[in-house]
Symmetry: C2
Subunit: 464 residues, 2 copies
């Protein structure tokens, strides 16, 4: 445990250096490191190099390391030696595609600061997910380094560049560098607070299976007058198949989809009910008013403990201005499932294929591309790391942290457990209105600031 | 009736001038007059000017005439005067969009000649629909003009530039110029032969209603992890609605859709059955093998006498490379109905709206854009014009013409009847494998040549 004077000096450095920290954050955001789009491959490498250099400047032995895809960045800081805690800080330098560009109020890779309902905020692709969150612990390192010349814990850093495309190269990288990367726990800042005043530790994450379905019919596009009524229409066929995905109660109709999914315990239901989730407000913030999803379950249960099937994209035929009387040769959809711990992503994808095959017109040729497959996860809530994080967050925010779930997927948590035999501590500072993955993604400067301070405190709590 | 020597001389001019005719046709094809795409507005005007100049060179009093949209071209040739027949030759100079461009073997607006299974063919957008077909009668005029210094019939020409987007300005133009445009019959070359050896006169056309459905849900794109399972997904909602369009027997489920649609007479069924339509061959040519559409009806009945509901385009969410875990704010579809004579397009569109509204999630906002609304039509088969056309076609091809239906829509036929009180004679020279509206649209040179000659003969048959 760090003495209070040192901690206060570290926190003072964060407060005094806020503007400079923001400039570094902006430099990181200006790199359009979109992993899904091959045109941005060089930008991904530039973001990795930027992070390596930042770590090297803080006393880390840091390097850009090749994978089968975008490179990782790995850094090692020895800390004070001896019995010091060893933590693996994980994040990702890649970001989601910025499209549709015309809905941004400013170019997505030119961060701008403006006033929001909670004070200053920064708008850019990656502002929060995950560059802004990564900066919270990176700047905490910087303050410790500046004040004490080092860190009071042993720290390994792992940044990957393919999180937004399902981390296809990460497991192999972890397996190939198992001894180097293993620590006592992973620390991950890619999650949200409960609200702007209430810090949270996330102990439950949904997994994901992401599949593209390509349906092909006629060998070429056809005139809908000359052929309509006598030939397979791929868009009609695909919508008919996908229209069956849910029943009238919002339950997913894929065979075996809910196998093994457990009902929430009464205690868990009570705990989440006590959070007083404002479902009407949650919906109103996105211009909606009606609960959706599985009928008869509370919203937090639907978001944190129930699996989903969401179409993320669909396309086929003529999509331009006006009309074209065409029967398209092909139709396509991107479909993802958010999964809970009991579900096996491989069996879910197999079930999808059975579901589609049972509805496939004989003339339709269907292929599948799997872009992600990771299980849901629950992490233990009684570790020394969760205990330290609860204390650090309570000190920073003046109120207890809540233990929550997240509907989002962080597949690396499953990989850390299965490949490195290590659990994760999930402490992040995003808010529900951050527009993650959407146009005008933002991060409140207040959250950024609290996040840096909270990570400085956590490092202090875990100091030898 | 023309004397045979004159006719043979006219036909000889067509045969001798084939290469020169093809050069004129190519010049017309090189103008990318895509009416659906605003970027091609000037090209549409250029195509109109080209046609005006061509008519002026053949003794027509011709002009480009403004409408609310793309202009029309109108030309008048007095013919021999007296009791000469008065025909209105109608066509369109606009073409379908050429997309998807990457499927063309050569640029769509650079016509190329190559060898196909029936000899030389010309590939370009508009090769047959409708520039190539328009050229058949325009070149017949040219041969008559060259041989006799005029035409043996009175001819009015009307070319429009918005046929491929549903002719939004045509009815107003017809109404405003009713006296000028009215003739004894319209003559339209925008239809097919029965096969490459068998000429046809089309007496039955399907109409069309074309609607774009725009469904809006959340006020912005959402992260599917943070929101999935608790909010309306517009793509899920749209596919669920549209997946209900047909029942398992292929019948359209819109309320009142089949109201008034009559069963085919036994005689009509026998006549079409006698054509020996090769359904397996029709399907194999487009890489299919299974009959589709309404179960239990012959293919020609499904194509010519039964209405359809075909999705022509669908889009929403992320459609790029790889994955994006987004719940899109919007989803869109283009849907068209091919209609038969008994159906009222307005009632069909109202029925669609009822159908969608009955399935609309309460949070979904849905708007409709109507791009076309025209009834199906049947034209009389006992007119002097049909009689003359049967004779001209039999002379040219050495076998009788068959009276057929067409699944395609030529809304102007309905407009000529309702606005000008005039029926239409539909004689065209397209073939089923012309790839109309598709990449690599083509027109066989043999069909082009027979078409010019057949129109020269028809003009002769109708001569005073």
């Amino acid at each position: 445990m760090t003495d209070d004077a040192t901690l206060q000096a570290v926190l003072g450095r964060i407060d005094d250096g806020l503007d400079a920290a923001r400039e570094r954050w902006f430099a990181f955001l200006r790199i359009p490191s979109v992993s899904a789009q091959p045109v941005h491959a060089a930008d991904c490498r530039a973001a990795a190099a930027w992070a390596r250099d930042a770590l090297a400047g803080l006393g880390f032995d840091a390097a850009v390391r090749e994978t089968a895809g975008q490179p990782c960045v790995v850094g090692h800081h020895p800390g004070p030696g001896g019995t010091a805690r060893h933590l693996l800080f994980y994040g990702h330098y890649d970001v989601q595609p910025a499209e549709p560009l015309d809905l941004w109020t400013a170019p997505p890779f030119e961060p701008v600061i403006s006033q929001g309902p909670r004070g200053a905020r920064v708008t850019a692709r990656g502002a929060v997910d995950d560059k802004g969150q990564v900066m919270t612990w990176l700047e905490a390192f910087r303050a410790w380094h500046a004040e004490t010349g080092g860190l009071p814990v042993r720290a390994t850093v792992l940044l990957e560049g393919e999180e937004e495309i399902g981390s296809p190269s990460l497991d192999a990288f972890l397996a190939a560098n198992r001894e180097e990367l293993r620590a006592e726990t992973a620390v991950i800042a890619d999650t949200n607070m409960w609200d702007a005043d209430t810090p949270a530790i996330t102990t439950r994450l949904r997994g994901m299976a992401y599949v593209q379905i390509d349906l092909r019919g006629p060998g070429r596009d056809l005139h809908s007058g000359l052929f309509g009524g006598a030939v397979l229409n791929p868009i009609n066929a695909l919508t008919k198949i996908l229209g069956d995905l849910h029943d009238a109660e919002g339950r997913v109709q894929i065979p075996g989809f809910y196998d093994g999914v457990r009902a929430l315990s009464a205690e868990q239901q009570r705990e989440w009910a006590s959070l007083g989730f404002d479902e009407p407000g949650f919906l109103a913030a996105i211009s909606l008013s009606q609960p959706a999803g599985e009928a008869g379950r509370p919203a937090l249960e639907r978001l944190w403990a129930r699996p989903t099937a969401d179409l993320n994209g669909i396309w086929g035929g003529y999509t331009g201005v006006g009309s074209k009387t065409v029967i398209a040769a092909e139709a396509h959809a991107k479909l993802s499932f958010r999964l809970v711990a009991a579900q096996d992503p491989t069996r879910i994808i197999d079930g999808l294929k059975q579901f589609v095959e049972a509805r496939r017109p004989r003339d339709a040729q269907i292929t599948y591309q799997v872009f992600a497959s990771s299980p849901g996860i629950e992490v233990p809530t009684d570790s020394p790391f969760v205990t330290a994080a609860r204390a650090a967050l309570a000190d920073e925010f003046g109120r207890p942290a809540v233990l929550i779930g997240s509907g989002g997927s962080i597949p690396v948590v499953a990989s850390f457990r299965s490949v490195l035999g290590m659990d994760s501590l999930l402490v992040g500072f995003g808010l529900d209105d951050d527009q993650v993955h959407s146009p005008n993604e933002k991060f409140d400067v207040r959250c950024f600031h609290n996040g840096m301070r909270a990570y400085a405190r956590l490092i202090g709590k875990l100091a030898a």
